[in-house]
């Protein structure tokens, strides 16, 4: 397997003590195939061995939660007999090496997670993080990743409805490519990844198995890029670990699997993702408490001469494992024939083995023919559930006090606010124009706004007037300054985004992108971030129903900023009219809803704002997460917009969350999309213009008195800012820019930076 002199277990990513654990489980020396199975299943990527003790602290319960963390996707009951499934994942390291295929297979993988639950995938979102665009390689990565998402997502027939685009030097050699998918199902079709029924068959559906992606989880996803010049030096060595996607195969696989589930032909079903066939067979067997015999000669292969370890650990894409009863084999084959996908019986569900002490253990046996030689025999649960758990050392970064002390709120001079405002704004339309965002006739609010809003409808779903909203949020600058407060504020930002489209937050999924867990500072960041998320989830009453952890995001020994990405799912009970969006009208009154000044040391903190970051100021202290201030504001905005969505006439013409670009950024965006200026007279300097803390909204109303009265009745503070009108954005004494300049600059900024225009 390897020509290097290092011991086999280390080449497979296992430590010496993990080898001892394996010996203890088996009561003997593992053979090389068994070692390879443990190598992938006990990888950081598959086992969450460094993060699991922390993730347990996240609240995951709720009356509407049908499936919590641990399955392919989390599922909530959205009402009307419809379940909504949601999942988020990372495909960071593959995308750093081969951006098109890395991003494409990220989309494919997350979709399989969702339809393995019985849900039809209805929407994808892609939060992306790259190094700065003055570097040609970063520009190549951006174009490749976007093309990969576009090429795969459009073809597979699932709309991509939004995402995020962040540029920061810390992602230079290690971009982050996260992907979130949402699906919906009649709750009666809910499927779980469990093998049961002695004598049942495990059928491998979809693509043939090749050598692509071998070691993807262990070699690629569970180690950093150590080269001094970052990823580039490792390109060639690691590229064979990147899988190659085929959206046409996946499209037919989706249709076939949903048809199999509709016809009731499947006992359990699981996707093949990281760690391939060994992961799917051992996890389904472990969940069912049964044994499974897997015949490597029954697997359809793409190339000759593949070894059993390659067959068992290949990450070839577009494959699913279905557990079926033998009498349904003919019917299953007929459905698969119709959709032109392969279906091979590769496993048998067998009785657990009785051990010498009388206990029973479900054994995963890899065989050369169902009646042939046993090539590997290990307890299925030891692979799936019993990887070692690590409580790795944690340590607050020693420079954090100095970072906090370097606060731009206190001493960063105002400079040319007009120029700063123009530099802040980037319209991501160049990205989302490449995505089909409309398929299934559901998209009411598409990419580029606060949150996406879709009708809750699709093939095979019960009729409903409801809608669902999705937002992905992150703020690595906040989290670098204070991972606990930063993550809590990020959740608040997400809930605020949903409120803008009238949706109440029902669930969150998280993708925790962090650096090397062997660095105590990184583990401290992770632990703090989890605590911040747990605190904010409790305060805002949103359960965490799934997640993913991506560690070893580093290059040349430098960790990325902590980047927890939160995917929020909300529901609108009645969606018959679009929410107001940003479409303010001439003469409207512009109102700031929520507390004008932040809780904490500074009324207008600039730490972590886009403005401060742009000026190279990365220090300072954040605003505090104050739940009581946030909840009433979020509820008020949600109710206002939800009533518009339900068809009620309102004086509210526009709603926009104040986020990273501050109040000035929010107002300028609204001016840019409408072509209408705004006049705001009283402002407390540049702090109020650019300060970025959540819990504030810009609302435009045609009837200020009525609106203010409703806000007062709800106990929500409001500040009248000014009026819509004219050709300029005029904010206090500092900003006076023509709307057409803002619009032109904003819409051209990305293509210009990518050197495409």
């Amino acid at each position: 397997m390897s020509s290097t002199p290092e011991p086999l277990h280390r080449a497979l990513g296992l430590t010496d003590s993990e080898l001892d654990d394996i010996r203890r489980v088996l009561g003997r020396e593992p053979n090389p195939l068994e070692l390879a199975l443990y190598g992938v299943m006990w990888s950081e990527h598959c086992s969450y061995k460094s993060s699991r003790i922390h993730l347990k602290r996240l609240p995951s319960k709720g009356a509407h939660v049908l499936v919590g963390p641990g399955e392919g996707a989390g599922v909530i009951d959205a009402g009307d007999g419809i379940g909504v499934a949601i999942r988020i994942e990372s495909h960071n390291h593959p995308s750093a090496i081969e951006p098109y295929q890395g991003a494409a297979t990220g989309v494919g993988g997350i979709l399989r997670d969702v339809f393995s639950m019985g849900a039809r995938p209805l929407a994808v979102m892609d939060p992306l993080f790259f190094g700065t665009l003055d570097d040609a390689r970063n520009r190549w990565l951006v174009e490749g990743v976007v093309a990969g998402i576009s090429g795969y997502g459009n073809s597979v027939g699932v709309p991509t409805i939004g995402g995020e685009l962040t540029f920061d030097q810390c992602y230079g050699a290690n971009p982050l490519v996260n992907v979130l998918a949402v699906g919906a199902l009649p709750t009666s079709r809910l499927a779980l990844a469990v093998a049961s029924g002695l004598g049942n068959y495990a059928v491998l559906l979809g693509s043939s198995t090749g050598r692509d992606g071998i070691g993807g989880v262990s070699v690629l996803a569970s180690a950093g890029f150590s080269g001094e010049d970052g990823a580039a030096s490792l390109d060639d060595a690691k590229r064979p670990s990147v899988q190659v996607g085929d959206p046409y195969e996946e499209k037919r696989l989706i249709e076939a699997c949903l048809e199999l589930l509709d016809l009731g032909l499947v006992v359990g079903i699981q996707d093949l993702g990281g760690a391939g066939l060994i992961c799917a067979t051992s996890e389904t067997a472990a969940k069912g408490g049964v044994g499974m015999d897997v015949d490597v000669t029954a697997v359809a292969l793409r190339e000759v001469g593949m070894q059993p370890y390659e067959i068992m650990t290949s990450e070839s894409q577009e494959r699913m494992l279905a557990i079926i009863t033998p009498e349904n084999l003919g019917a299953v084959t007929a459905v698969c024939d119709k959709w032109e996908i392969r279906a091979n019986v590769v496993g048998h569900v067998v009785e657990p083995t009785t051990m010498s002490d009388g206990t029973t253990v479900g054994m995963l046996r890899v065989r050369n023919g169902f009646d042939g030689e046993i090539l590997a025999e290990v307890p299925a649960s030891s692979l799936a559930d019993e990887a070692p758990l690590y409580d790795r050392p944690r340590e607050r970064p020693s420079d954090l006090d100095a970072v906090h002390a370097d606060d731009p709120t206190e001493d960063e001079p105002v400079g040319d606010a007009n120029a700063d405002l123009l530099d802040l704004l980037v319209d991501p339309a160049w990205v989302y124009r490449q995505y089909d965002s409309q398929l299934f006739l559901n998209t009411v609010v598409g990419p580029g706004r606060d949150a996406a809003l879709l009708r809750l409808a699709g093939p095979g779903l019960p009729a409903s007037q409801r809608g669902f909203a999705v937002s992905t949020d992150s703020n690595p600058r906040w989290c670098a300054l204070d991972p606990r407060q930063g993550t809590a504020l990020t959740l608040a930002e997400g809930v605020a985004n949903l409120a803008c489209v009238g949706a109440r937050a029902k669930a969150v999924v998280n993708c925790l992108n962090f650096g090397n867990p062997e660095h105590p500072e990184v583990m401290w960041q992770l632990s703090e971030s989890v605590d911040g998320l747990a605190m904010a989830c409790e305060a805002l009453a949103v359960p965490v129903i799934g997640g993913n952890v991506s560690l070893y995001n580093e290059s040349g020994g430098r960790d990325i900023d902590p980047t927890p990405v939160l995917g929020l799912l909300g529901v609108v009970d009645s969606l018959v009219s679009p929410p107001p969006g940003w479409n303010w009208r001439e003469g409207d009154t512009v109102v700031l809803v929520g507390h004008r000044r932040a809780a904490g040391a500074h009324p207008f903190p600039l730490a972590g704002s886009r403005w401060a970051t742009m000026r190279g100021r990365r220090g300072g202290r954040l605003a505090m997460f104050e739940a009581s201030l946030l909840v009433s504001t979020f509820d008020f905005i949600t109710d206002e917009v939800a009533s518009i969505c339900a068809g009620v006439t309102s004086d509210v013409t526009a709603v926009h969350d104040v986020s990273g670009g501050g109040l000035a950024g929010a107002l300028a965006e609204m001016a840019a999309v409408t072509g209408l200026g705004v006049n705001v007279s009283r402002l407390e300097g540049h702090g109020e213009l650019f300060s970025a803390f959540p819990g504030r909204f810009v609302v435009a109303t045609a009837h200020a008195e009525a609106f203010v009265a409703r806000a007062s009745a709800a106990g929500v503070p409001v500040t009248i800012l000014g009026n819509v009108g004219g050709t300029h954005v005029r904010l206090g004494a500092l900003i006076d820019v023509a709307v057409h300049r803002i619009g032109a600059r904003r819409s051209g900024a990305l293509e210009e930076a990518l050197e495409l225009s």
Binding site: A147, S150, G151, N154, S155, Y248, K251, Y435, L441, P459
Partner: protein
Amino acid sequence: MTRVGVIVFPGSNCEYDALCAMEQLGAHAELIFHSATSLGDVDAVILPGGFAHGDYLRPGALARFSPVMSAVSDFAAAGGPVLGICNGFQVLTEAGLLPGALQKNRGLTFLCQSTTLIVSSTRSVLTRAAQVGQELVVPINHFSGAYTCDDATYDSLVVHDQIVLRYRDNPNGSRDDIAGVANETGNVVGLMPHPERAMATLLGSADGRVLLEGFVGLGATTR
């Protein structure tokens, strides 16, 4: 009630949307799998958008060989209304049921965006309920949507009034801003924009109704 057959190739993905649009207009719509050799008792046929056979080789190049296509050709030859939307348009050109071809967009990227169409001719099953010069807001969603043809074909299109829809602001480099064309008799039409995505103001535009109402209304009559 008009009966509309929506053809499903492996890789099609807008069949459900076409079905919903037809049902909203009061038609009866049914899916017809590409392996079918007969269309059954339908009054009109839609080839929906998507990526038939994965767009392998090039869009539409393999779909023209699907068994159902000979039935579609016979139906078209007999004067039956046939509408190809996006990938369906590409299939119809590859199958020789419509002139010209669709090549990659001018900017070499996929484009999903709103466009404004101008009705150029009402001599087709799709545009007969519209007015010449009428502007319709309908989204596009394609990578290979730039209409192209040789000069002789173009002259013939003009002479026979076969250019039915043009883009007001050409997004993809189509020759003469062409968004949709018909055959000489007007019963076969293809367009790159998606009228089925413009059926409701809730989703941004209801202008697609003007086109699809005309298409459905025609189904029950004979030409």
